[in-house]
């Protein structure tokens, strides 16, 4: 939709005060891809992006009694329940790890992914007042919960590592792959979350589908079980689910055991990139009509 008629020049904040010739933008009906994938446009609105992310971080646990503790209570809660239910069931291999540790290592990235996707999918609708009253690149809205999720993820990862060290499973150098694994999870969450948010603007059915889909997704991801307990070729094919590589990678990176699951990580990374590109492309196509429908 935006076609700068003059060459864009990077403006420092101070330059705003100067009587520089303002650029002219043409507002017209648009086709195809336009905004999300326009870095100058995203950069121009960086201050707003920062404020939205800070808002999402600030309000996440405001007026909750336990505050930031929720970041770890959710994965710990799952861990306790899964350990009680699945930990003692014969035939569930936990790669030789204590079952609580085995499941927590997977739950920490999973909770980040699931919350980011859930909050992301609701974000455009819950920010309808913003979307219908002000212009900015809309992608900031579903991205906000992911940025806020990083804070939770940092807290819960540190606690996971502490528990692992105490239990006698200190991480090795593999821990350096964590940023990559988190990036894969974030890319998948943003791709899926932003597409769902865009659909939610038109069809509120999304609100009912997402919590249900997340539960199903949890079980097709090797969280309560190990990926190694699946027969080939499905063991490898299942990594099309980007969370397979993330979860198996996270266990390997934080608990310091097992072989590097590079094949899974590679497939999952490719899949996450595909979801990211497809999700943002769809978002970009429909972004222009959000204000009319939200």
């Amino acid at each position: 939709m935006l076609k700068p008629m003059e060459t864009e020049t990077a403006q420092s904040p101070a330059a705003i005060e100067q009587p520089v010739a303002p650029e002219t933008i043409r507002l017209q009906p648009s086709r195809g891809f336009s905004r999300v994938l326009s870095p100058p446009e995203l950069w121009r609105y960086r201050d707003l992006a920062l404020q939205i992310a800070m808002r999402d971080i600030t309000i996440r646990y405001r007026q909750t009694a336990l505050g930031g503790a929720w970041a770890i209570l959710q994965p710990i809660g799952f861990m306790v329940v899964f350990s009680l239910i699945f930990g003692n069931v014969a035939g569930i291999s936990s790669n030789g790890l204590p079952y609580p540790l085995f499941s927590l290592g997977a739950l920490v990235p999973w909770v980040f992914f699931a919350n980011s996707m859930l909050l992301g999918s609701e974000s455009l609708v819950s920010n309808a007042a913003l979307v219908s009253k002000i212009y900015f690149p809309r992608i900031f809205i579903p991205a906000g919960p992911i940025v806020a999720g990083f804070v939770d993820l940092a807290i819960s990862t540190v606690i996971l590592l502490a528990i692992a060290v105490i239990w006698g499973y200190p991480p090795g150098v593999a821990i350096l792959t964590l940023p990559l694994l988190i990036a894969i999870a974030a890319a998948a969450a943003l791709g899926v979350g932003s597409a769902l948010a865009a659909i939610n603007v038109r069809f509120r059915d999304v609100k009912y589908v997402v919590p249900f889909a997340i539960q199903l997704w949890l079980f097709i991801t090797p969280i309560v079980y190990a990926n190694s307990s699946i027969d080939q070729p499905w063991r490898t094919i299942s990594a099309i689910n980007p969370m397979v590589g993330v979860v198996e990678g996270f266990r390997w990176a934080t608990l310091g055991t097992g072989d590097a699951p590079w094949t899974l990580i590679g497939i999952s990374a490719a899949s996450a990139v595909a979801l990211f590109v497809a999700g943002l492309a769809y978002f970009d196509r429909v972004e222009r009509s959000f204000a009319d429908f939200v």
């Binding site: 705003i16 507002l27 808002r55 309000i59 002000i134 204000a291």
Partner: protein, 415 residues
């Protein structure tokens, strides 16, 4: 600087009604308000019955530094135009070229988050309005001073009274310094003294050489702030020129509308339940003449509705020709002399023993309720003239005097 701030060429905005709207959110609200009229009138719905043009073939040029007032009935397309210019929504046809940084103020307090403190909201809201962090920081103290809220800066906004949050929101907005400012009906907030302050701030902005496009139903504010007026009617420009000329034109349109059968009017208040509709509103002289009364003499306001309903109540606001309210007659605030009369049928009568008004032309906005349920409302339901008369023996000036009200008084003067 470019000479031209905004130029539109055959700009159009089409909304699709129906399935996609399905009862959710702002589309429905804005459409019911903005676009239903042309549909009902049947003029604008050529291609498909559910496709409506909120704006059509709009070509305008606004130069740098111009302060323009956009005038028109509800649903004329004013807000749609501002939404396109502020990039919230895309046009469906034509284009608009906008030169300069645009700040839009379509609502006071957009993006305020109730859980955040006043301080946090200033930064968030400032960024939403397009300010850089450094700008907000530089003006932070000014904003807090303007809002008069320094004691509550670290209190969550949800604990603010509505007046306080509005003050904070306007304070942030008032310190926005874009090259082009788009403002939609946001001055009518806060108490009277804050409104005065806001208005002063707005006229300061208007004088500072910025381009301002301003929407308000308060014609006096438009007249005070703007030099140029643009009258929109059903998505098209009806008049464009000096603000006085365009206001005259608009008032004439309003009057013409008031001559039409009230039941047929399409600019009704969207909130009405509409089980009964306003049918006739007249200010009647004792001689029986409608809509011409004499100052200082009695008059009777008659409001007729289509269906008699139990518990009818009425509120009539009398405004001067610029739309500034002078008095409100409200039957819900009762006096011992009020009575319910079964003989009246679907009519409400209001006796005015003495018309306490100076000569001039006045307008009545009417709202009817039945058993407390809002039924119908019309702005400019009728117009009436007050002819010069005598107030307790004192002749009224025929015209040209200041003010609108005549009240009994007597002087004691030294010899």
């Amino acid at each position: 600087m470019a000479e031209i701030a905004i130029e539109t060429h055959d700009l159009g905005k089409r909304y699709t009604l129906g399935v996609s709207g399905r009862g959710y959110g702002t589309l429905r609200e804005s459409l019911v308000e903005a676009v239903k009229k042309p549909l009902r009138r049947g003029g604008r719905s050529q291609e498909q019955p559910n496709q409506l043009w909120a704006l059509r073939d709009l070509s305008l040029t606004i130069e740098n530094g111009e302060v323009v007032g956009l005038i028109g009935h509800n649903g004329a397309g004013k807000s749609t135009l501002l939404k396109i210019l502020s990039r919230i929504t895309e046009p469906s046809a034509g284009y608009a070229d906008v030169s300069g940084r645009v700040g839009s103020l379509l609502e006071v307090g957009t993006g305020f988050h109730p859980e955040l403190t006043g301080r946090e909201n200033i930064f968030l809201n400032g960024a939403i309005l397009g300010m850089r962090r450094s700008e907000i920081r530089a003006r932070f103290d000014e904003i807090v001073d303007f809002a008069e809220l320094d004691k509550f800066l670290d209190t969550p906004v949800k604990r603010y009274s509505s007046g306080m949050s509005v003050r904070l929101a306007f304070a942030v907005a008032a310190h926005l310094e874009p090259e082009i400012l788009l403002v939609d009906e946001v001055l009518a907030v806060g108490d009277a003294s804050f409104q005065r302050k806001s208005l002063a701030k707005m006229s300061e902005v208007a004088r500072a050489g910025r381009t301002v496009v301003f929407v308000s139903h308060n014609l006096a504010i438009i007249q005070a702030l703007c030099k140029r007026g643009i009258l929109l009617e059903r998505g098209e420009v009806q008049a464009d020129g000096t603000v006085d000329h365009v206001l005259d034109r608009y008032l004439a349109e309003l009057e013409r509308a008031s001559e039409a059968d009230l039941v047929e009017r399409e600019d009704r208040d969207g909130r009405g339940w509409r089980q009964t509709l306003l049918k006739r509103v007249e200010m009647i002289d004792p001689s029986g003449q409608a809509n011409a009364v004499i100052g200082g003499r009695p008059a009777k306001l008659v409001i007729e509705v289509t269906e008699p309903m139990p518990g009818l109540e009425c509120r009539a606001t009398i405004a001067n020709s610029l739309g500034q309210p002078i008095a409100t007659l409200d039957s819900e605030i009762s006096a011992p002399a009020d009575a319910r009369d079964p003989e009246l049928g679907p009519s409400i009568e209001c006796e005015i023993p003495t018309v306490p008004m100076l000569p001039g032309r006045y307008r009545i906005d009417v709202v009817v309720k039945a058993n407390g349920v809002y039924q119908d409302g019309l702005q400019g339901a009728t117009f009436f003239d007050v002819e010069p008369g005598v107030m307790e023996g004192r002749p009224m000036p025929s015209h040209g005097s200041e003010g609108s009200v005549a009240f009994p008084h007597s002087w004691r003067l030294p010899p």
